[in-house]
């Protein structure tokens, strides 16, 4: 029931409140400037104590739940601070960060070098490289609803075949080959995809493009690349659609998959179910995106990892900020909030309440080290 309410609220934002949202955005942008300007005279904020003011950020809606947890935790420690996180979507979040409406952004993909975002971010940050830290990592589960089948092993090629509508029944030889013990019915397969532009879809199609070795003929994209098939809006809508049909299969944040069968995906010669450890393992061993500064932790997720227990189908969402801000108080707020987000406490709180996978110690330490250097000019 909770998910339906959330869905209703989110989609209800739809049309009419567009202008209201825009106004609120403008207003909150002004608010940030005023608040931080007004409390400037607090001077050095060396210890990070006695923080006050308003911190505005926004972006990825995947991060919304985790951001809520971090906000609550951070505001609990700093009573005079207000943190606003607007889940407007990654693209809009990045744009608003670049236009200085937000002090930080949450984004399901790193700033792209090709489309000039990286250069724009550099300009926004006074010529310095922007900070990008992975803060929200969530394994994406391949969920299915098929009566009588509780365990399912699917190779990446088979998943690609199913979502490409090439593998159309559950007793297809490709599925039977990896599930010798299962009693597969001849039910038709209904693959369900997201109808909205989403980071989950982008990571899922990226996984298919890289791991399914040619069986998936499309590029990674937040919009579903095929023009057919069952579509559902939002994670909750997709989960509801998979639940309501028989023979359905879809992909969703692992934390939202409650009550559905979760397939184990082929990794090397084995099959892995989504786990926080498996996702963190992939993240830790994945290479960094080339040509990035030291403070930019953009990661090229290794989708073809073969280590036992690894789970390469995951979503990484970044926090994007500057190294230095004109306003010392704004810098202190960003530093404080981002430090909390990547701290063991913050990561654990998000894992408990938003179902994310905590960063492993190495990445978390590196991120904390980068965030600690954020300062006023």
């Amino acid at each position: 029931m909770k998910s339906t309410l959330v869905n209703a609220r989110r989609t209800h934002r739809g049309i009419v409140p567009a202008t209201i949202a825009a106004l609120a955005l403008v207003a909150s942008g002004c608010g940030a400037a005023n608040d931080s300007g007004g409390s400037d005279d607090r001077g050095s904020l060396a210890g990070g104590e006695s923080l006050s003011g308003t911190l505005n950020g926004g972006g990825s809606s995947a991060q919304e739940a985790a951001q809520g947890v971090w906000r609550a935790g951070f505001q609990g420690e700093n009573a005079d601070v207000t943190v606003n996180y607007d889940p407007v979507g990654s693209g809009t979040g990045r744009e608003n960060f670049l236009s200085k409406a937000y002090s930080f952004a949450g984004s399901d993909s790193a700033l792209s070098a090709d489309e000039g975002e990286l250069a724009a971010a550099k300009e926004r940050c006074g010529g310095e490289d922007p900070i990008e830290i992975p803060a929200y990592v969530s394994p994406i589960a391949v969920v299915y609803h098929l009566d009588g089948v509780d365990e399912l092993n699917l190779s990446p090629e088979t998943i690609a075949g199913i979502f490409d509508e090439e593998v159309t029944t559950w007793d297809d030889p490709a599925i039977a080959a990896t599930n010798p013990d299962a009693d597969l019915p001849d039910t038709a397969i209904t693959p369900v995809h997201r109808s909205d532009d989403s980071g989950t879809t982008k990571n899922f199609t990226d996984y298919l493009a890289k791991a399914a070795a040619g069986a998936w003929g499309y590029d990674a994209d937040g919009v579903w690349p095929k023009q057919s098939g069952e579509a559902a809006e939002g994670t909750s809508g997709l989960v509801a659609a998979v639940k309501s049909g028989d023979g359905t299969i879809g992909y969703a944040d692992e934390s939202q998959a409650g009550g559905l069968g979760i397939a184990a995906i082929g990794v090397g010669a084995e099959f892995s179910k989504p786990t926080a450890e498996g996702a963190a393992m992939v993240l830790a061993s994945s290479p960094r995106t080339e040509g990035r500064a030291d403070v930019d932790m953009a990661i090229d997720i290794d989708r073809t990892i073969t280590d036992s227990g690894a789970y390469p189908l995951l979503l990484t969402s970044y926090l994007i900020a500057c190294q230095h801000y004109d306003d010392a108080n704004e810098a202190a707020l960003v530093r404080g909030f981002l430090s909390y987000a990547v701290s063991p406490d913050g990561q654990q709180a998000a894992a408990d309440q938003a179902g994310s996978a905590p960063l492993d110690a190495g990445l978390a330490d590196e991120a904390a080290g980068i965030v600690d250097e954020i300062a006023g000019k």
Binding site: A8, T11, V192, D196, Q227, S244, G245, T248
Partner: protein
């Protein structure tokens, strides 16, 4: 409807301060709504026209604006027509039942309940359609696929989630039912009593009486009621967005998983994550819907005017 047309010079009515104030208020209200409509159009035009020529990535998975909006417009019309086909006969029947068949003790509560349907928010209809009606219509989809599959509308394969144009059209039908019923009911009640009694006196059965004396009189009212319902169905957003499993396609198939989205529902589902480019594209589709709805209403007016003329002869 046509009253006395003789141009008798009427005595100039007395006017007081109250009259002038009221006239001012009424005029202001009329002008304000016109101005608001014009402002909406100007907004759509200014913000939307640039959306026609954005980079191809804004129209993913398609490549340019017209194919993008074409599929949406097709879906909009398809869903609205399905809704009308279901709702119009129902609404006429209910209206006739209330005005001519039901005993008064029953007619009043039925009319009240149907009016109440209009007060249910569309989000609630959407939730109900997606979570309750859709799954319950799955057997209907399977049956249509099996027995009426030779019709292009029911080519199948039947959806297993029920999130189809057929379900969306059914939900829309329920949503437009109150407005069509209410107007038809009012028009039927106003059918001249003498005509009806004359028909009965000449030995007509009750059905013949309705057909001979009520329907001809009510024709223009029925047309405008249906057109108002069509307008509501064309613009309905949330319910469709929540029910429909949408893909950018042209298809007449009402029962498969692959359905075209409607313009309004597409705006609702894409707005959340829209970049500025995409937003301009969405507003441009809104402009197309605005123009289309305007054209439909214009055509409806013309139809009504012509049938009224015919009636007068």
């Amino acid at each position: 409807m046509t009253t006395t047309t003789e141009a008798e010079p009427q005595p100039r009515p007395a006017t007081g301060r109250g009259d002038r104030v009221f006239q001012g208020l009424a005029t202001a209200a009329g002008i304000t709504i016109l101005a608001a409509l014009a402002a909406v159009f100007v907004f759509l035009a200014i913000e939307g026209v640039p959306g026609i020529g954005k980079p191809a990535s804004s129209y993913r998975p398609l490549e340019s604006f017209w194919p993008y909006v074409g599929r949406l417009l097709f879906g909009t019309v398809l869903a609205a027509l399905v809704a009308l086909v279901i709702a119009a006969p129902f609404a006429l029947g209910i209206a006739l039942f209330i005005s001519h068949y039901a005993p008064r003790a029953l007619a009043v509560p039925v009319a009240y309940v149907v009016d109440l349907l209009a007060a249910v928010p569309s989000v609630v209809f959407g939730l109900w359609g997606a979570r309750v009606l859709g799954p319950h219509l799955v057997p209907v989809h399977a049956w249509l696929d099996e027995h009426a599959g030779w019709l292009p509308f029911f080519a199948g394969p039947g959806s297993v989630t029920g999130k189809t144009v057929l379900t969306a059209g059914t939900v829309l039908a329920i949503m437009i039912l109150p407005i069509i019923t209410a107007i038809c009911r009012e028009v039927f009640v106003q059918a001249p009593r003498l005509d009806e009694e004359a028909a009965l006196a000449l030995g007509a059965t009750r059905w013949e009486m309705v057909r001979l004396s009520v329907f001809p009189y009510a024709r223009s009212g029925i047309v405008s009621a249906v057109m108002l319902g069509l307008g509501r169905a064309l613009g309905e957003t949330m319910a469709v967005a929540m029910v429909l499993s949408a893909s950018p396609v042209y298809t007449l198939n009402l029962i498969s998983s692959t359905n075209p989205a409607t313009i309004a529902s597409n705006i609702a589902s894409s707005f959340q994550e829209a970049t500025p480019d995409k937003l301009a594209v969405l507003i441009a589709t809104g402009l197309v819907l605005f123009v289309f709805t305007f054209a439909v209403n214009f055509a409806a007016r013309a139809v009504v005017a012509r049938s009224e003329q015919r009636l007068r002869r």
